[in-house]
């Protein structure tokens, strides 16, 4: 199913070329191919459907406007994904939703017990648990662990250092484990 492939879908080079020449049909095909993936990524980070829709709309307007500057040696889907990530982070930064970790907090973080059990396997609804994280924790977790961005790239997106991303990710895992340890998030035997 095309929807489940997200940003791993690839369009033929001819489509990208036609879109660069301004052909509306090719631009529409780009939208149809990646709009769900863009929405999924934006929604995972911001958790607000209306904000995620605004992000998708603005992203594709930007894509139309700047597709001529896309260099074909890179992955086209990756280029769109980067625009979605940046746009979402910028939106939530503008709304002051992000709680950023300061440098003093960094030194108090070392821990050795996060991965002693497979606590996430026993959780009922990972998606809703992610919704309970702070926006910065969720954003870094999604960008690093799901989308595969490096800490350096994530730091750049937030206009912060690489260690900001590392620390925020570590805090995200700690928060997630805490949520998973709560009795309400465990799968109750026989209650399917």
């Amino acid at each position: 199913m095309a929807d489940s492939k997200g940003f791993s879908q690839q369009l033929p080079k001819a489509v990208i070329k036609a879109a660069k020449n301004g052909e509306i049909d090719a631009l529409e095909l780009i939208y149809r191919t990646y709009s769900d993936a863009a929405y999924t990524l934006a929604l995972r980070i911001c958790r607000e459907p209306s904000l995620a829709q605004d992000v998708v709309q603005d992203v594709f307007i930007k894509v139309m406007k700047s597709i001529h500057s896309f260099r074909e040696e890179g992955a086209f889907a990756g280029w769109i994904r980067r625009i979605v990530s940046n746009e979402t982070i910028n939106r939530i930064r503008r709304q002051n939703h992000l709680q950023l970790v300061n440098d003093e907090q960094i030194s108090n973080l070392a821990s050795e017990s996060l991965f002693e059990q497979e606590w996430l396997m026993a959780t009922r609804d990972l998606d809703s648990m992610l919704g309970k994280l702070t926006e910065s924790a969720r954003a870094v977790l999604v960008l690093h662990e799901i989308e595969g961005y490096s800490h350096k790239e994530i730091g750049d997106m937030f206009e912060k250092s690489e260690s900001f991303s590392k620390v925020t990710l570590s805090r995200a895992y700690k928060a997630l484990k805490k949520l998973a340890d709560k009795p309400s998030s465990k799968i109750v035997s026989g209650n399917k």
Partner: protein, 203 residues
């Protein structure tokens, strides 16, 4: 034996990987982290609840129209400066070559005379237009479109005068140019009247 911290497990590097190769305790923890990462990768995708393409397309088309208008205004401004010079150079150089060549043939005599008459009429219309053209016409879409047409026609005329003879083509192009200038004069006349009326009302 020292073990890796959670942070070191999350952000692995070559040194950490060397430790993992030797330490079963940390390797087990790394495997658990890999399991968590797999769970995260399996998160469901979401379907966009509304089709945003119509609004994206509309925004793109609006942007294109704006861009077209801006470039047509630029061209119109360029034309206002350069077209008179271009026409003047045609009249002074190319036309005289053409007239001289055409006057050598009695058969073409009538047509050459007609071309000369058209050139005079073009010159007159161009002067009228020059006296009326002002900034108020810069945003006029039709005026801009016609000046672009005139621009193209001047380029064709230049090419025709590069070759000897071809009086029929010259006659055709000067006639077309005359029609365009008449239309441009009509637009600028209307605009001029509106502006005069506005001034009169203000007084």
């Amino acid at each position: 034996m020292m073990h890796l911290t959670d942070e070191q497990l999350i952000a692995r590097d070559d040194v950490n990987d060397l430790h993992l190769a030797e330490c079963e305790h940390c390797r087990l923890k790394a495997e658990k982290l890999a399991g968590i990462r797999q769970q995260l990768q399996k998160l469901p995708t979401h379907k966009l609840p509304v089709d945003l393409w119509p609004s994206v397309k509309q925004a793109e088309l609006t942007e294109r129209r704006k861009h077209q208008l801006e470039s047509s205004e630029k061209r119109a401004k360029f034309w206002q400066i350069s077209s008179f010079a271009l026409a003047a150079s045609l009249l002074v150089t190319g036309v005289w070559v053409g007239v001289f060549q055409s006057s050598n043939s009695q058969v073409d005599g009538g047509l050459a005379e007609q071309v000369n008459l058209l050139i005079d009429q073009n010159k007159e219309l161009q002067l009228q237009l020059k006296s009326r053209s002002g900034r108020e016409l810069e945003g006029n879409f039709e005026f801009n479109r016609l000046t672009q047409e005139l621009d193209k026609l001047d380029a064709r005329l230049q090419r025709v005068y590069m070759q000897p003879g071809n009086l029929i083509e010259k006659n055709k192009l000067w006639s077309m140019r005359k029609i365009l200038l008449v239309e441009l004069n009509l637009i600028s006349k209307d605009r001029h009247s509106i502006e005069s009326d506005k001034k009169a009302i203000r007084i």
